[in-house]
C-alpha cells in the first residue's frame, strides 16, 4: 500500500471527538446537555462550536422589568424532556409564564375558536410555557458546566467554522478519510465521528453533507416586540387574530408583559418598526380589536395623536364585556429596542442524515411561527436523536453509521412533514380575504369549535402530550 507517514492517531487525538455539534442555539445546547445527562452517552467526547459569543447567556443578569424579544413557546413535551435531562431546574422560574387558554379568531369574519388545556385531562399541564431564549440558553450552559469535570463538553464560542471537508489526515494506524474535519477560525481542526448540524437555516453542515432543502418564502416578515399590558389580567391566555396580511399573536409573559409576534408584509413591518412607540402600541391594540377597514386606514397615518384619537373613537364603540374575553387587555408600552423583524419561510430537507452527519432544528426544517412549533420541532429532533444514539451505544454500533442515523430520520421526518404541511396550509388559508374562502374557512372553524374531540386532538398534536 502507501508509504508510512510517521504520523499516528495519538498525534491528533486531542482534536478527535465522538460528537461535534455546530451551533450553540437552543437545539445544539440541548443535544449537548442530553448527551452528558444520559449514563449511556456521558462518556462520549463532545465538542460544541458557536460563532457568536455565549457570554450574553452565561453572564445573563437581567432586570425583572426588561424582557428580551427573542422568546419561545415551549410545549409540555419539550419541557418534560428538558426536565428529564436536568436542565429545567436551572431555568429562572420567575421569567417563565405558562398559558393554558388560547383564543384564535378570523380577522375577516370574526369566527372564533377557543382551546383550553384543561380539557386535555393532563394533570394540569398548560398549553405551553413562554420564556426568553436566553433563559433556556443560560440554563443549558449551566447544566453543562455542572457535569463532572473530567469529560465536559468542550465549548468553542466566538469561533467560526471556516470549512468542513472529509478528513485528509494521513495516519499510519487509523484511516479517518470517512470522518468530517471541521476547520475553525482559531486554527484547529476537529474530526468528528458524528457531526451534528444545529447551525440554523443556512446550515454549512447541511451543505457539506450535500443535503437539499426545499421550500418557499412567504413574502412576510415576522415582527416581534416586548409589550407592557395595561394590567395583568392573570388569565394566562394566548391570543391570535388572523388578518389577511398575516396573523398577529400576543403571548403572555411574566410581570404583566407580553410578547408580540406579528406576521405581516415587509412594507408594513418596516412602517411599524419606524412608528412612534405610542402609535405602535395603539396599532397593536387596533389590530386585535378594530375592523379591517379601520386598521387599513390607520396603517396610512403616522401622527400619534391622530392615531390615538381615531382608535379611541372606534374602540369606544366596542361592547365593554368583550374586553379580556374577545380580545386582550390593552397594550400601553413597548420596550425600547425590542421591535425587530425577520423574513418568514418554509423549508424542509429531503433527508436529515448522511454518513456521519445529522441535522437538528432549523438546519433541517423551518416553519411559520403561527403555531408556535419552531423550537419544539427542534426539541423533538434532539429527543429522538438522543434515543437513537443511546440505543446505538448500548449495542456497540458506531454512532456515525448511516444505518443508525437513518432510524432518527425515519422517526422524525413523517411527523415533522405533517406539522410543516398543516402550518403551511393554515397560512395559505388565512392570508386571503376572498369571500368564498373566508366563508368556507369560517364555517369550518365553527364546526371544529363546536366539537370537543377535534379540539382535543388538535391540542394533543400541538402540545406533544
Amino acid at each position: 500500500m502507501g508509504s508510512t507517514t510517521g504520523r499516528k492517531f495519538s498525534d491528533i487525538q486531542s482534536d478527535v471527538y465522538d460528537v461535534v455539534i455546530v451551533g450553540g442555539g437552543v437545539s445544539g445546547l440541548t443535544l449537548a446537555a442530553a448527551l452528558k445527562a444520559s449514563p449511556y452517552t456521558s462518556a462520549l467526547k463532545v465538542a460544541l462550536i458557536e460563532g457568536m459569543s455565549l457570554a450574553p447567556a452565561t453572564k445573563w443578569d437581567p432586570s425583572p422589568d426588561q424582557l428580551s424579544n427573542r422568546v419561545s413557546s415551549i410545549t409540555p413535551a419539550s419541557q418534560a424532556f428538558l426536565q428529564k435531562i436536568g436542565v429545567w431546574d436551572y431555568v429562572y422560574p420567575e421569567r417563565v409564564r405558562q398559558y393554558d387558554d388560547m383564543r384564535v379568531w378570523d380577522g375577516v369574519s370574526g369566527a372564533r375558536i377557543q382551546f383550553d388545556s384543561f380539557q386535555l385531562d393532563a394533570a394540569g399541564a398548560p398549553m405551553a410555557y413562554m420564556t426568553e431564549n436566553l433563559n433556556l440558553q443560560q440554563a443549558l450552559l449551566e447544566s453543562l458546566a455542572e457535569a463532572p469535570g473530567d469529560n465536559q463538553v468542550k465549548i468553542f464560542d466566538s469561533t467560526k467554522v471556516e470549512q468542513i471537508t472529509n478528513s485528509t489526515d494521513q495516519l499510519d494506524d487509523v484511516d479517518l478519510s470517512s470522518w468530517p474535519a471541521v476547520k475553525l477560525s482559531n486554527g484547529s481542526t476537529l474530526r468528528a465521528r458524528l457531526l451534528i448540524g444545529a447551525d440554523g437555516v443556512n446550515s454549512p453542515v447541511r451543505s457539506y453533507a450535500g443535503i437539499e432543502s426545499r421550500g418557499w418564502d412567504y413574502g412576510q416578515h415576522g415582527l416581534v416586540a416586548t409589550l407592557t399590558m395595561e394590567w395583568d389580567d392573570r388569565q394566562d391566555i394566548a391570543w391570535q387574530r388572523f388578518l389577511p396580511t398575516g396573523p398577529i399573536a400576543l403571548l403572555p409573559m411574566p410581570g404583566g408583559k407580553a410578547s408580540l409576534v406579528w406576521s405581516t408584509t415587509p412594507k408594513l413591518a418596516a412602517h411599524l418598526k419606524s412608528l412612534d412607540p405610542k402609535a405602535f402600541c395603539t396599532l397593536v391594540n387596533a389590530a386585535f380589536r378594530l375592523e379591517l377597514a379601520d386598521l387599513n386606514y390607520l396603517y396610512t397615518r403616522s401622527d400619534p395623536e391622530e392615531i390615538e384619537a381615531e382608535f379611541e373613537w372606534r374602540d369606544g364603540m366596542l361592547p365593554m364585556e368583550d374586553e379580556g374575553a374577545k380580545f386582550p387587555v390593552r397594550v400601553v408600552e413597548v420596550q425600547e429596542n425590542t421591535r425587530a423583524s425577520f423574513p418568514l419561510r418554509m423549508r424542509h430537507c429531503d433527508s436529515y442524515v448522511a454518513p456521519r452527519v445529522a441535522l437538528v432544528g432549523d438546519a433541517a426544517h423551518t416553519t411559520h411561527p403561527l403555531a408556535g412549533q419552531g423550537l419544539n420541532l427542534g426539541q423533538g429532533d434532539v429527543a429522538s436523536l438522543m434515543s437513537v444514539i443511546e440505543r446505538a451505544v448500548v449495542r456497540g454500533a458506531d454512532i456515525g453509521d448511516e444505518v443508525v442515523l437513518q432510524e432518527y430520520w425515519a422517526e422524525r421526518y413523517p411527523a415533522n412533514h405533517v406539522m410543516l404541511g398543516v402550518v403551511d396550509k393554515l397560512q395559505k388559508l388565512y392570508c386571503t380575504d376572498s369571500k368564498p374562502v373566508v366563508a368556507l374557512r369560517s364555517a369550518g372553524l365553527e364546526v371544529v369549535a363546536s366539537m370537543d374531540w377535534i379540539k382535543k386532538l388538535i391540542m394533543k398534536q400541538a402540545t406533544g402530550i
Binding site: F9, V174, D175, L176, G396, A397, D401
Partner: protein, 292 residues
C-alpha cells in the same frame, strides 16, 4: 436430517478436496464450498454500504447484540458464567458487522473474527482501521482461517480454559457450510463451562423458502441472488436436538449442553428485524449454554 447432511457431505467434501488446490484447505471436511466463497467475495466491496446488498445484515445487527447480552444476563450460571471481561469468537464474521459491535462493548475483553473469504476479511480489516476506538483498544482481531484450524485444548485441564472462549457466535453460518455438524462439534470444544454458543439460521420450511428465497432474492431483491440454498437450511428442532444429545468425543468428561432459548425473527420492510413469529417457521436465533 443433520446426520444425513453429514453423510452426504462426506461424499461432497471428497469432491471438493479433489477440486480445491488452496494451500490452506484443511485436512478435515472443508469448511466452505468454492461456490459460497465466490459468492461472498463478490459482495465484499459493498459489504459496508448501508444502502447496498448487505443492508438487511446491517439491520439485523441490533437484534443479534441484544440477543447475546440479554440471554447472558437472563440465563447466566452463577459462579460459572462470566458477565464481563468476555472472550468472544465470531465464526464467519464476514465484513465484521457483528464483530465490531461486540468489540465496542465494554463488557467484552476480546473478539476474534474468523472468515474463509480473503477479500471479505480485507474489507473487515480496512473498516476496522476507520474507527480509532477499535484500533487503540486492540480488542478486535481477524483471522483468515476456518474454525477447524484453530488450536483446540484437549481436555478441561487446569489453565486450558484460558484458551477457550466465553462466547462463540455463528450467525447465518450453518446454512452455508457443507458439514454443520462438524463445525458445531469443533465449536463446542472451544467454549468454557458456563459459556455459550449463539447461532442463527433458517428453518427448512416452505414458508422460509417463500420469504427468504422467493420474496427476498427473486421478487424484492433485498438479498443478493444465490445467497441461500434451501436444502442447506436447518430446522430449529434439529439444531436443538443436536445440542441436547451432544456428548464430547472424549468419554467421561461429562460435557453437557442445554438450549436456553430460541426465537423466531422476521424482517418487516421499513421497520427492520423483529423477534416475532414461531421459531420453527423462518429465520431463528438459538442460544446454547455449556453446563459443565
Amino acid at each position: 436430517m443433520l446426520g444425513t447432511i453429514k453423510h452426504s457431505s462426506s461424499r461432497l467434501c471428497q469432491t471438493t478436496l479433489r477440486l480445491t488446490s488452496r494451500s490452506h484447505s484443511t485436512a478435515s471436511s472443508s469448511a466452505f464450498s468454492p461456490d459460497e466463497l465466490a459468492h461472498f467475495n463478490a459482495l465484499a466491496s459493498s459489504w459496508w454500504d448501508a444502502n447496498g446488498p448487505s443492508r438487511l445484515l446491517h439491520k439485523m445487527n441490533p437484534l443479534r447484540t441484544s440477543f447475546i447480552f440479554d440471554t447472558i444476563d437472563a440465563y447466566a450460571l452463577p459462579s460459572k458464567t462470566r458477565l464481563s471481561g468476555l472472550k468472544m469468537l465470531d465464526v464467519g464474521c464476514g465484513g465484521g458487522i457483528l464483530t465490531e459491535a461486540l468489540a465496542r462493548n465494554p463488557r467484552v475483553e476480546s473478539v476474534t473474527g474468523l472468515d474463509m473469504s480473503e477479500q471479505v476479511l480485507e474489507i473487515a480489516k480496512k473498516h476496522k482501521r476507520q474507527d480509532p476506538k477499535l484500533v487503540m483498544e486492540q480488542k478486535l482481531d481477524y483471522k483468515l482461517c476456518s474454525l477447524f484450524d484453530l488450536p483446540v485444548p484437549e481436555a478441561a485441564a487446569e489453565g486450558k480454559d484460558e484458551q477457550r472462549y466465553d462466547v462463540v457466535t455463528m450467525f447465518e453460518v450453518l446454512e452455508h457450510v457443507p458439514d454443520p455438524s462438524a463445525l458445531l462439534e469443533t465449536a463446542t470444544k472451544l467454549v468454557r463451562p458456563g459459556g455459550w454458543i449463539f447461532a442463527s439460521t433458517v428453518n427448512r420450511t416452505a414458508a422460509a423458502y417463500l420469504t427468504t428465497i422467493f420474496v427476498g432474492e427473486d421478487l424484492l431483491r433485498m438479498v443478493p441472488k444465490g445467497t441461500h440454498s434451501w436444502s442447506k437450511y436447518i430446522n430449529e428442532k434439529e439444531l436443538r436436538e443436536w445440542f441436547i444429545e451432544h456428548k464430547t468425543s472424549v468419554p467421561g468428561t461429562g460435557e453437557h449442553w442445554d438450549v436456553v432459548t430460541s426465537k423466531g425473527c422476521i424482517y418487516i420492510p421499513f421497520v427492520g428485524w423483529e423477534f416475532c413469529g414461531p421459531r420453527d417457521l423462518g429465520n431463528y436465533f438459538l442460544a446454547a449454554r455449556r453446563l459443565s
